[in-house]
């Protein structure tokens, strides 16, 4: 069985399942954030269920509208806090703690082999730790909370065998953007993506979280890495015991296997208005920008901020460019403070936003006006995503975004590497 099949078989109490089957599976962890939690918990009460199926398997995070940008948002947060208290949900992270997809791994909620549902499409992020995470809507979440179970179609799996070392200034964000460009925004529609091959041994957990996060941008249901030594070390560092290796069976059946070398990959940029409209940074180099955004559940971790700080240290961003930085969690912000990363960014002209989703989903805090252009480390560049439908969003790695903020236009971070080396 593939990783997806192994997890769904275990969760549905079956010895074996295979792609195409429908199963009813027990949910190991259910996540809600502030856009949907109040509505879900209201509906749960309306449905006549007086208690959350198991409060300890439920995590609620206030991360999207942080701090509350409107009276309505504040009221929604109030309703969420009341529900959380009444239902006895212990795993509750209030405004400012961080983005759900950062907090769940960081605070030790995610273990390899788990089946996790969340009212957010980027719930695929947990695949980085070998957990089958996937997004669901509010009605499905009410059903999952009320019964502890949910129906699933066992997905076909596409395996990506990755080889080769990344070039300097190229990151795993560039890898997942290139996969989206090559296979398309529906290239893994309703499929599980499984990452394998020697190259993943060089991908730290931060990089894996970036890749699994964006699996959904190719339509995937899951974006799974096997659990290995890197997973084990991360789990030990984040409040839990380690984990044994967890991978697919050797005789697992795949819909397709793609062997891909990463060694000659240049920095990638997704262009407006599709995540799969991807090219090398050279194709768009020189385009003036109004805003640069460093953050989101894709690339708001300390590793991402550090890369940007190294590029910006001792310099100032280009006049007329706004650089917004939203650390993915309070812990990330604290680490950035302790290590001087924050000072480098602020001194360079960055505006630091509250740990949270920030402007990524177009809610508030850094939206774009007509004809403005933004390059960001986030995950979506759909039309109207960050405000005006006339605005343009480019997606790239933290290095490319920092290099662009410095230059005032989309810039190739490899040139900085050359400059520093020389």
């Amino acid at each position: 069985m593939t990783l997806a099949e192994r997890i769904l078989a275990r969760a549905s109490g079956r010895d074996r399942v295979s792609a195409g089957e429908f199963v009813v599976a027990d949910i190991d962890l259910a996540l809600m954030h502030d856009i949907f939690a109040a509505q879900v918990l209201d509906l749960l009460v309306d449905a006549g269920v007086s208690d959350v199926f198991e409060p300890d398997k439920t995590v609620v995070v206030i991360d999207h509208l942080v701090p509350a940008p409107s009276a309505e948002a504040a009221n929604i947060h109030h309703r969420i806090r009341r529900h959380v208290e009444r239902l006895g949900i212990n795993a509750f992270y209030d405004a400012g703690e961080g983005i759900c997809h950062q907090l769940l791994p960081e605070r030790g909620h995610v273990r390899p082999g788990m089946l996790i549902v969340g009212t957010d499409s980027h719930t695929t992020t947990y695949g980085a730790l070998g957990a089958a995470g996937t997004g669901i809507g509010t009605s499905d979440m009410v059903y999952a909370l009320a019964t502890g179970r949910l129906w699933f179609r066992v997905p076909e799996t596409i395996r990506f065998e990755l080889t080769g070392d990344l070039a300097p200034a190229v990151s795993w964000k560039d890898v997942i953007l290139s996969l989206a460009g090559r296979f398309g925004a529906d290239g893994a529609q309703y499929r599980s993506m499984e990452f394998a091959g020697p190259a993943i041994g060089n991908a730290d957990m931060s990089s894996r979280l970036t890749v699994s996060n964006m699996a959904v941008e190719m339509g995937a249901k899951f974006g799974l890495f096997p659990a290995d030594e890197i997973t084990d070390a991360y789990l030990r560092d984040h409040g839990g015991s380690g984990s044994e290796a967890f991978g697919p069976d050797p005789d697992a059946e795949y819909e397709a296997i793609h062997e891909i070398s990463l060694s000659s990959l240049p920095p990638q940029v997704a262009m407006p208005h599709e995540v799969d409209r991807v090219g090398s940074v050279e194709e768009v180099e020189g385009l003036d920008i109004d805003q640069a955004f460093l953050g989101s559940c894709t690339n708001g971790r300390i590793e991402d901020l550090r890369v940007a700080a190294e590029i910006l240290h001792g310099q100032h961003i280009s006049p007329g460019v706004r650089l917004l930085v939203a650390p993915a969690s309070r812990a990330v912000l604290q680490e950035a403070m302790r290590t001087g990363v924050l000072a480098s960014l602020v001194d360079a002209g960055a505006v630091i936003l509250a740990p949270g989703c920030g402007p990524c989903f177009g809610g508030h805090g850094g939206l774009l006006g007509p004809n403005e252009r933004c390059i960001g480390t986030h995950n979506r560049n759909f039309i109207g995503r960050m405000g005006s439908p006339q605005a343009e969003i480019y997606l790239a790695s933290p290095a490319t975004v920092a290099a662009s903020a410095l230059a005032g236009h989309i810039a190739d971070p490899r040139r900085l590497e050359v400059a520093r080396a020389g």
Partner: protein, 173 residues
């Protein structure tokens, strides 16, 4: 499940219609009466004011890509859209459409077979799609039985209400 044919007027959209245009983030926590006014406004501002109950959306590949927001499907239902027929549908949109009771059909070649304003007939049971204006027809894929049962019940919450009350305190794990 009995064969169910529905007829309506077509609104045609291109590929990759995302949840950001079906349910823009700026109105994420607004009530449905507000949200439905902004559906698809960035790609066709005439849609939300002009759509009539029973109208059908015909779209290209990857319809509903992006967010998990169920409001993408709920907004269409609130506007009276009877069905979405697309070259392909995002997983999350499919799941949410089923969950709220909005019928969907995947049908290759649908985009070239329809123009805005054509009359369409969709058989949800067989997946057969006919252009009543031009006479063209296409064979789509009806949803699997498991999903159609939820649709027929009126959505996943209706399924939940019809089940025996769940005593969560005694649930075994």
């Amino acid at each position: 499940m009995q064969a169910e044919a529905l007829r309506g007027r077509v609104w045609r959209f291109d590929h990759d219609i995302s949840t950001d245009v079906l349910s823009p983030g700026q109105y994420a926590v607004d009530p449905v009466e507000v949200r439905k006014l902004h559906v698809l406004e960035s790609v066709n501002p005439a849609f939300a004011p002009g759509v009539q109950p029973g109208d059908v959306i015909v779209a290209g590949r990857n319809f509903g890509c992006g967010s998990s927001r169920e409001t993408a499907a709920e907004n269409l239902l609130a506007l009276g859209v009877a069905c979405v027929v697309a070259e392909s549908l995002s997983r999350l949109f499919t799941r949410n459409a089923v969950a709220v009771g909005l019928p969907v059909v995947v049908c290759h070649g649908i985009l070239e077979a329809f123009a805005d304003g054509d009359d369409i007939e969709v058989d949800l049971g067989t997946g057969r799609v006919v252009n009543l204006t031009s006479g063209a027809s296409r064979q789509g894929e009806s949803l699997p039985e498991e999903m159609r049962e939820i649709l027929a019940a009126g959505g996943i919450l209706a399924v939940l209400r019809s089940q025996k009350p769940v005593d969560v305190s005694r649930r075994q794990h």
